[in-house]
C-alpha cells in the first residue's frame, strides 16, 4: 500500500470528532448514575440519614471520597494526552489523603484512647470492602472504555487513576449506607477498598490501554 493511498483513505474516515473531555465527563456521570442505581437497589441510605447529615463525621465521608474522585478525574483527563509525561495536576491527588490524615488526627484528639480500636474496627468492614468495589465496577468500566480512545504514556498509571475515581464514587455511595462514621474506620477500610479498585484499574489498564 502506498502511503498516499493510506492518507487518502484515512481522510475518508474522518467525521467530526467530539472532544475527548466531553466523553470523560459523560463516562464519569453515567458511571455514577449506574452506581447510584445499584446502591438504591441493594442497600439504600441508612434509615437515620436525616439526623446523620447533621453530624460532621458522616458528612466528612462524602467530602473525602468526592474530593478524591474529582481530583483524580482531572489528573486522568490530563494523563490521557500523549504529550503529558508527568501531569502537572498530579499534586492534586494529595488533597484527599491530607484531608483524611487531618480528620484522623482530629478524631484521635476528640475521642478517648479506649475508643480508638472499636471505632477503627467498626461494625462492617467486610461489607465495606465488598460493596465499595462493587459500586465502583460500572464507573471503572466506563472510564476505561473512554481511555481506550486516549493515548496515555503509561497505561498502567492511567488505569490506576481511573480506579481511584471509580473507588471514590463507589465509596461515596456506600458512605450513605454505612454506620461507621469515624475517620479511623474510613482511613482503614475505605482506603483498603479504594486501593483494591485502584489495583484492578492498574491491572486492566496495563492490558487494555496500550496503543
Amino acid at each position: 500500500m502506498k502511503t498516499d493511498d493510506l492518507i487518502a483513505s484515512l481522510a475518508a474516515d474522518a467525521p467530526a470528532q467530539r472532544p475527548l473531555r466531553r466523553l470523560f465527563a459523560a463516562a464519569a456521570i453515567l458511571g455514577a448514575l449506574v452506581a447510584c442505581l445499584l446502591f438504591l437497589v441493594t442497600l439504600g441510605p441508612r434509615p437515620d440519614i436525616h439526623q446523620a447529615v447533621h453530624t460532621v463525621r458522616f458528612d466528612f465521608k462524602f467530602v473525602v471520597t468526592i474530593v478524591l474522585a474529582v481530583t483524580a478525574f482531572f489528573v486522568m483527563r490530563d494523563m490521557a494526552r500523549p504529550e503529558v509525561t508527568q501531569s502537572r495536576l498530579r499534586p492534586l491527588l494529595w488533597v484527599a489523603p491530607v484531608l483524611l490524615v487531618l480528620a484522623v488526627a482530629a478524631e484521635l484528639m476528640a475521642v478517648p484512647q479506649d475508643q480508638w480500636m472499636p471505632r477503627l474496627i467498626g461494625h462492617n468492614m467486610r461489607f465495606c470492602t465488598t460493596m465499595i468495589p462493587l459500586f465502583a465496577l460500572a464507573p471503572l468500566a466506563l472510564l476505561l472504555w473512554v481511555l481506550r480512545r486516549a493515548a496515555p504514556q503509561s497505561p498502567t498509571r492511567a488505569g490506576a487513576i481511573a480506579g481511584l475515581i471509580a473507588g471514590g464514587i463507589g465509596a461515596a455511595f456506600y458512605a450513605a449506607h454505612c454506620f461507621d462514621d469515624s475517620p479511623l474506620f474510613v482511613a482503614a477500610w475505605y482506603t483498603l477498598a479504594i486501593g483494591m479498585v485502584t489495583g484492578l484499574g492498574a491491572l486492566l489498564g496495563s492490558r487494555l490501554l496500550r496503543w
Binding site: 500500500m1 492518507i7 483513505s9 475518508a12 470528532q17 472532544p19 473531555r21 480512545r149 496503543w211
Partner: protein
Amino acid sequence: MPPANKPDGPEKAWADLMRAGLAGDAAAYRLLLEAIAPRLRKFAGNGLSRIGNADIEDVVQEILLAIHLKRQTWMQDQPFLPWLNAIARHKLIDVMRRKGRRGEVPIEGFIEILPDEAPAPETSHSELNKLVSRLDSRQRSVVSSISLDGHSIKDTATKLGMSEGAVRVAFHRGLKKLAELYRTGRSA
C-alpha cells in the same frame, strides 16, 4: 500544501488544519497528513537507519494510523507539535522494541528535522497489505476497497451491497484492528 518553513515552524498552519479536520473537514485533514508524512519518513529513517526503505515506509504508515486513531486526544487549546511529536516517538519506540533493535530514538522531535524531499518509495511489499489480509472478511473487503483500491465509501457500499453507514463503521473498526495487529502481530 501549507507554508511549513516560517520561523515558528508549521505549528500554526498544522494546528489550523487539525482543527478543521476534527470539525469534519476531510480535505484539510488530508492536507495535514500529506504535510506530515515527509517529516515522519525522515524521522523514522533517522531512528531505523540500518533497515531498508520499505521498512521505513511501514513505520511511517503505522505512525500515520496512530495519529489518525488518536487525533481526538489533541486538545485544541494546546500546541499541536508536541502532541504530534509524542505520538511519533511513542510509535517509533514501540517499533524498535518489537524489532529488538537497540537503536536510539532521536532526541530531537521530528519537527525540528527537515522534511525528506524524496518522493515516497514505491513499496512492493507492505506490512499493511499483509495485515489487511488478516482482518475478518467483512472488514477486509471494506478496507481493501477503500485503502488499496481507492474506492469511495459510496462506491464501496454499492459494490458490497452494504449501507454507507455500515461501510463507515466496518472501515473504522478495520483501521482500529490494523493498529492493534501492528502492535501485537509483528513480534517475529
